[in-house]
Subunit: 352 residues, 2 copies
Amino acid sequence: MAGWRAEGSDITKRMTKRIGGWARMADVAKLAGVSMMTVSRAYQGNGRVSDATRARIAEAAATLGYVPNLAAAQLSSQRSRVIAATIPSLSHSQFAITLQGLADPFREAGYQLLIADCGYSAEEELRAVSTVLGHRPDGLVAIGVDHCPAARDMICNARIPVVETWDLDQPVMDMAVGFSNRLAACRMTEYLIAGGRRSIGYIDFPAPVVRRFMERRRGFLDAMGAAGLRSDIVLDAGQGPSGYARGREGAAHLLECEPDLDAIFCATDAHGVGALLECQRRGLSVPGRIAVTGIGDFDIAAEIPPGLTTVRLHAREIGRQAAGLMLRRLEGDTAGDKVLDLGFELVVRGSA
Amino acid sequence: MAGWRAEGSDITKRMTKRIGGWARMADVAKLAGVSMMTVSRAYQGNGRVSDATRARIAEAAATLGYVPNLAAAQLSSQRSRVIAATIPSLSHSQFAITLQGLADPFREAGYQLLIADCGYSAEEELRAVSTVLGHRPDGLVAIGVDHCPAARDMICNARIPVVETWDLDQPVMDMAVGFSNRLAACRMTEYLIAGGRRSIGYIDFPAPVVRRFMERRRGFLDAMGAAGLRSDIVLDAGQGPSGYARGREGAAHLLECEPDLDAIFCATDAHGVGALLECQRRGLSVPGRIAVTGIGDFDIAAEIPPGLTTVRLHAREIGRQAAGLMLRRLEGDTAGDKVLDLGFELVVRGSA
DNA sequence: TTGTACGCGTTATCAG
DNA sequence: CTGATAACGCGTACAA
């Protein structure tokens, strides 16, 4: 533990920068000829430090390649300036967009996102949550509202602001930003029915235990039931290699079981695009012979002919607003809404 | 600062759990009737603690809702068990897949990923890098090899293992996993030429300053030059709302300027799909009249008729291998290759 | 505007 | 197998 600190002169340090570890604030202070507190204040920005001193500190820091140790800062200040974000899957494009919507406002406000992939199982989620909480985040943004009881307990015990996103059909722990998945699916189904479709099949997400998808299916069933139509043409998508493939296979299966189908409603746009392509491959005209719709308004939905009719979900805006809610709370503002319903938008294109 | 700790009896704590903050290891120790060190050892797993003691500790921890403070652990142990990951864009699907490939092995080995969106500019990158380094990660995995000199300096000064990914055309700082973007583009171009295409247009990524795309363009130019063909039909994709839209607009522009084009090679599959759709919309038969190809093998490439011919890049495997390299180094293994070329795979489908 | 003393919650070290 | 003590690097509170 003696290392260079004990033996190295300031000159040596200056020449070689660091030999065996990180420069500490004390090193910067010594080189700049001030106390640590002055360096600390210079970095925090708020404290009043003369310009001359500030410049000397900046130079010393640059010479030493000093990067403040945030763990020490957190331990001392009891604030981490870290926001935890749990996400069911990093490769879900819409979630990634929400994440980006989150990241920008937080970064500007000086917070760093700590992203935890919480998977789709209770164990994974609990592990992810306990790990991120170990970093003592100042707040938590959850993408999705599915939480196993243990994770929910742990999060509540953390006594930090929490924003849940993407589904307003469930009661939430604290704050929330999103929309009603059930209503979105219901409206789309009503649109199909209003367009004269009667025999409508539904292709669900392969893991329908996910709340978000349970609500969508529920919305579909509600609307079909209300219209007095058959609501049993429901299929869990298979295990194809991609969402597109699963939609394609699902549509194939559905069309074989129910040749008279005049619409296929998919729980996500990836499935929808796959289903659309499958219909076209079979020579079924879309939307003449059969309608196909999805949910999500993925980029491809606008491009694939004849355009996939879908529901736009404002994924980026969900992130932005969630960050806004969190930042306001962190600044001590406890007034204002705790739940923001951003709604959704039926996007009618050629496919239905 | 007096708070509940001073006044609350153990019973009170047990009943109400925590009233005003996190339980600390000292609280767990007291409740379990052991010293902090024993608790610490119990959590670290390696230290020898009797089963009875371990059970009492587990019970106390559960009662108090104890979650170890990782910042304190890091400060004390000088190891964070955090791996920094820089990524140019969270919403780039292939990068997200690499991230997932990274996350699993690291999680299993007890490391948490700290993901920093480093954007596409030098300032953003420097800020991102300095923030993550502030958390004193035990290692850094960079997605992409583009680094501004300042960021590169900062990373080198950190003296931690570094794995760069996705591009082996550049010299790297330490370790690397990926493939040659230049060679991938070159091979695809050669394939088109071998198929009889002579007038080949290239649609580049809109920010060709990104190294990865510079190399791809270079590969295209190399192959065209070697074949003695025109290599000036190169277009930067425009600013459409999505990669698909940019590819579509790019193709439209190209086809208007160069009506005799018999192939369009796009720097990414998103552009490729857009270009393919645009060709079809114009009634040009693909691949009869014109060939279209991309790079990346996105999911949609396999689905869109007639199938987009492309280059598969093993995005997930890049992540997995990068994690493996890093973990081996963290375990002190300095033998073995420092650079892994995972290559690429020409995937021939209907479009070319 | 700048400096001093202390504590944040954990682990390393050494002793039992 | 368990415990006492001293760091780890920084910010808060207060003093100058």
